[in-house]
C-alpha cells in the first residue's frame, strides 16, 4: 500500500469518525433515564422553583418550600430560589411570576432552619 493510499485510508477513518460522532451526539444522542432533578436544565429548574413559589404564596409554609426545593440540589434553598429569580428576570418572565419568585427568595433568605 503506497503512502498516498495510507493517507487516504486514515483520512477516510477520520471522516467516518466525524460522521459517527455527529450521529451519536446530534442526530441520535444518548437519552438519559432515571435522572435526578439537580440535573434538570436551567429553565426547568426555574419553572419548578416557580411552582414552589406559586404554592408558597398560598401556603406560606417555608419549610415545605425548603423541602421541595431541596430536590433541585444540595445548595441552600435561598440560593436555588435566587438563581431561579435571576433566570426569570433575564428571560422575560411575567412580572407576577417574578414577584412570586422574589417573595419566595426573600422568605428563604430570612428563614432559620
Amino acid at each position: 500500500m503506497t503512502a498516498k493510499r495510507w493517507f487516504i485510508f486514515i483520512l477516510s477513518i477520520l471522516a467516518g469518525a466525524g460522521l459517527g460522532l455527529y450521529y451519536g451526539w446530534v442526530i441520535s444522542p444518548v437519552e438519559y433515564i432515571d435522572t435526578i432533578p439537580s440535573t434538570l436544565r436551567a429553565d426547568y429548574k426555574a419553572d419548578y422553583s416557580l411552582m414552589v413559589a406559586e404554592v408558597f404564596e398560598s401556603e406560606k409554609d417555608v419549610e415545605a418550600a425548603v423541602r421541595r426545593l431541596a430536590l433541585l440540589g444540595s445548595e441552600p434553598p435561598a440560593a436555588i430560589a435566587s438563581a431561579a429569580l435571576e433566570f426569570a428576570r433575564q428571560n422575560g418572565y411575567a412580572p407576577a411570576d417574578i414577584q412570586l419568585l422574589q417573595d419566595l427568595t426573600l422568605a428563604l433568605q430570612v428563614w432559620q432552619p
Partner: protein
C-alpha cells in the same frame, strides 16, 4: 497491499471511522448527565414534579400552564399518569387533600372543551404556547437585559429554546397578557348526586367489584368525584376519572366476601348503605363474588 484493488479501502476506512465515532459518542462515560428534561426523571421525582404541577394549578387555576408543564413529562396520557399517581398515593396512605389536588387537575383536563388545544405532544411535537413568558407588550419589563432575539420554540424547550450560540435565549413576549386561561368550570358543580340505578352482575373475570358511574345533570360523565366507602373497621377513599378507558365518570372498588359496605359521595350528602357483594356460581359450579353496579346522576 495491492494498489490495483480499487477504492474499497476508502469505504472500509469510513465504516471503521463511523463505528469508532458512534462508539465514542454513545460509550463515552459521563460523570453526570446535564441539562436533562423532566421526562427523564426517575419515577419518584417525576411524581413529585407532577404533584407540584397539580399543586400550582390548584393555586393559580391556570390550566394551560399546567398542561404545558405536564407535556414536559412527555407522557402519552397525562390524565392516566395523574390517576396512577393518585392510586399510589392512596395506597401509601397519603392525605386525601394531596390526592384531591391530583384529582382536580385530572378532572379539569378531562372536562375542558374538546376544541381547546391540548399539549400532549411531548418532546417530539410542536410545543404548546406556554404562558410562562406572558409579558404584555404594554408593560415594560423590569429588567435591564436586552430584549432577547425571537427564536422558534421547540417542544423540549418550552420556555427557553436552546440554540447552540446562546445558553438561555427566550421566547419572544407573547402578544397579549390575556393568554392565561381562567379556571375551567367543572361539569359537575352543585347538587348532590342521587342514585338512579342499582343492580348486581356476575362476571367471573371481574369478581367482587363495586362499580360506580357518575353523571352530571347533562348526562355527561363526572370525573374527579371523591367516593368514600366504609365498612366495619375500615374506610377507603377513591375517585372517579382514573379509569378513563372505561369512562371518566367511572370508579371501582374491590369488595370482600361477607362484608357490608356503605358508600358516600357528594361530601356525605349521598349515602348508600347495605352494600354486600352477591354470590354467583360459575359454570363449573364453584361460587364467586359478583359485582354491584351503582349509577348516580345529578338532578
Amino acid at each position: 497491499m495491492n494498489d490495483h484493488r480499487g477504492p474499497w479501502f476508502i469505504l472500509t476506512g469510513l465504516l471503521l471511522g463511523i463505528g469508532i465515532g458512534i462508539g465514542i459518542a454513545w460509550g463515552m462515560p459521563q460523570a453526570q448527565p446535564v441539562d436533562t428534561s423532566p421526562a427523564s426523571l426517575r419515577y419518584d421525582f417525576k411524581d413529585e414534579y407532577r404533584y407540584m404541577i397539580a399543586a400550582a394549578y390548584a393555586i393559580s387555576g391556570d390550566l394551560g400552564r399546567a398542561q404545558a408543564r405536564l407535556a414536559t413529562l412527555n407522557e402519552s396520557d397525562p390524565v392516566q399518569s395523574l390517576g396512577e399517581q393518585a392510586q399510589r398515593m392512596l395506597a401509601q396512605n397519603s392525605s386525601i387533600e394531596r390526592v384531591r389536588i391530583l384529582a382536580n387537575l385530572s378532572e379539569a383536563i378531562q372536562s375542558q372543551p374538546q376544541a381547546t388545544p391540548s399539549p400532549q405532544g411531548g418532546a417530539d411535537s410542536p410545543s404548546p404556547v406556554t404562558p410562562l413568558n406572558e409579558a404584555s407588550p404594554t408593560l415594560e419589563l423590569p429588567t435591564a437585559t436586552p430584549t432577547p432575539e425571537p427564536i422558534e420554540a421547540t417542544a423540549d424547550s418550552r420556555f427557553t429554546p436552546t440554540p447552540t450560540d446562546t445558553p438561555f435565549p427566550t421566547l419572544p413576549p407573547l402578544p397579549t397578557a390575556t393568554l392565561r386561561p381562567t379556571r375551567t368550570a367543572t361539569s359537575t358543580p352543585g347538587a348532590p348526586f342521587t342514585l338512579v340505578n342499582q343492580s348486581t352482575a356476575c362476571d367471573p373475570q371481574q369478581p367482587g367489584l363495586l362499580k360506580v358511574n357518575l353523571q352530571n345533570a347533562l348526562g355527561q360523565p363526572a370525573p374527579g368525584q371523591e367516593l368514600v366507602i366504609t365498612w366495619f373497621g375500615g374506610e377507603e377513599h377513591f375517585f372517579t376519572g382514573f379509569k378513563n378507558e372505561i369512562s371518566p365518570g367511572y370508579a371501582d372498588f374491590t369488595l370482600a366476601s361477607g362484608i357490608e359496605y356503605a358508600l358516600s359521595l357528594s361530601e356525605g350528602q349521598t349515602r348508600i348503605t347495605g352494600l354486600i357483594a352477591p354470590s354467583c356460581t360459575g359454570e363449573d359450579g364453584k361460587p364467586y363474588l359478583g359485582s354491584i353496579l351503582l349509577e348516580f346522576r345529578q338532578p
